[in-house]
């Protein structure tokens, strides 16, 4: 499947995957504010029409997998990503990119970025769980995210973390208690962020602007 090049796209179309578990309204507003056109994706055939895909998050892994499989979006997302369409996963959306998750009964993820999702345990990390609130992102100096993410505060709200199978796939971290949590993961055209850029005021908006304008992808 060919995807349209982002270069020269006056107003890129960003498809937001809607799978019944969360609030996509704020993401739609965020896409709009960034100067891109939000399209709500509820069926697999809609993916062909978008320049980028946004996979949100609020919800539980198991429910998300179930909904995505039932609507046929699961396979459509995998195909689109494998053919090069830029895909950004947010929070649970980032975790869905993994190979597997411990949440609920063990679940299989999209497997677009190898790794697994495990639960934060407050006794282990010596801090309260969920990891809730504003925390500072440390981004890898050599990577494209450095300018827009390193040293910024973003809003986090999660109890599970995604550890990538290879070090190079994690390009940003934060600290909570004794845990060093991966918060930016990337493999080619597939990216994931653990924080909620759409709920992180101006720092989040700045990041999303860059993403929807086609930057940070290649």
């Amino acid at each position: 499947m060919q995807h349209r090049s982002l270069l020269g796209t006056a107003k890129p179309t960003v498809g937001i995957v809607a799978y019944g578990v969360g609030n996509i309204a704020s993401l739609a507003y965020a896409v709009d504010r960034a100067g891109a056109k939000p399209v709500i994706l509820t069926a697999s055939d809609q993916l062909a029409k978008v320049d980028q895909i946004l996979l949100p998050g609020v919800g539980a892994f198991g429910w998300a997998v179930r909904e995505l499989r039932e609507t046929g979006l699961w396979n459509a997302i995998t195909e689109a990503a494998e053919s090069g369409v830029p895909l950004l996963g947010i929070c649970l959306g980032m975790q869905l990119l993994a190979t597997s998750s411990d949440e609920g009964e063990a679940h299989q993820g999209l497997g677009l970025i190898p790794g697994c999702v495990t639960e934060l345990k407050s006794q282990v990390i010596q801090a309260r769980v969920p990891h809730m609130g504003w925390n500072q992102v440390e981004a890898d100096e050599d990577e494209r995210f450095f300018d827009v993410l390193d040293g910024t505060d973003m809003y986090f709200a999660h109890s599970y973390v995604f550890h990538t199978a290879t070090d190079d796939a994690t390009q940003g971290w934060t600290r909570h208690g004794t845990a060093r949590i991966p918060v930016v993961v990337r493999r080619k055209n597939v990216m994931g962020v653990q924080f909620h850029p759409e709920k992180s005021q101006s720092s989040g908006a700045k990041f999303l602007n860059r993403v929807f304008k086609g930057e940070l992808w290649y």
């Binding site: 309204a25 609020v58 539980a60 309260r128 969920p130 500072q136 986090f156 909570h176 709920k199």
Partner: protein, 265 residues
Amino acid sequence: MVLRIRVIPVLLLKSGNLIRSEAFRIHQAVGDPFHDVARYAEWDVDELIYLRIRSTEERYNARPDVKNRRPMSDLEILNEVARRTLVPLTWGGGLRRFDDAAQTIYNGADKVYFNTLCHLSPEEVTKTSNHYGRQAVVGGIDVMREGEGPPRIWTHSGTKPLSYNLADYSRLLQQIGVGEILVQSITNDGNAQGFDLRSIETVAASVDVPVIALGGAGRPSHFVAAINAGASAVAAANYFHFVEDANSKIKTEMACHGIDVRRPN
């Protein structure tokens, strides 16, 4: 570098109006529901909480200056607020079923607040938590303190007392799937004499989830005390409404006391 302490304005809604309250009884209308949203956006607040107060009046009771406009439903208000808010939004008060929570999130809230429901139908709270994740569920505990005795928990807008002790009830909330506990002092509500520090300590020591303190804020130093008592976040309604530069004053005081807060850009 650690997770920042959060400072959260609370807006109280009754019949579509923004109100202030005192000891959960005196309710005065102070503005339209969007009155403070723009101001809070400008101040770059960390988060927002909207709590609906139960109205005993059957008919809609508007302020004189909004008499001629069709009253907005709570969901319409939520939609409008969500559209203008770039930080997490918690919404609740009177939510009685999973379906209410689902509708709330669908209409723009990031988290739902359950208070009475935690006691009345905990399975609805658990269902919400299982579906949306515990990070989307805030459980509220309203506490009244009579003298030096143990605090008492009240539900149904402060009208029905529970026989649980505070530590046990807090643990119960965590068990049923609540991701954060909002402990509100009925006694100190609106009196500007400081938070109920002992209750905050009890709740914080009993659970592993973050604790948000509310009720009684009158000075920046009160917020510092609430954090030192174990809260991960501090909230206030009146303080934000009536004090100029509230966010800045609170955060400056906290920073001076070595508390890690997010400073707006």
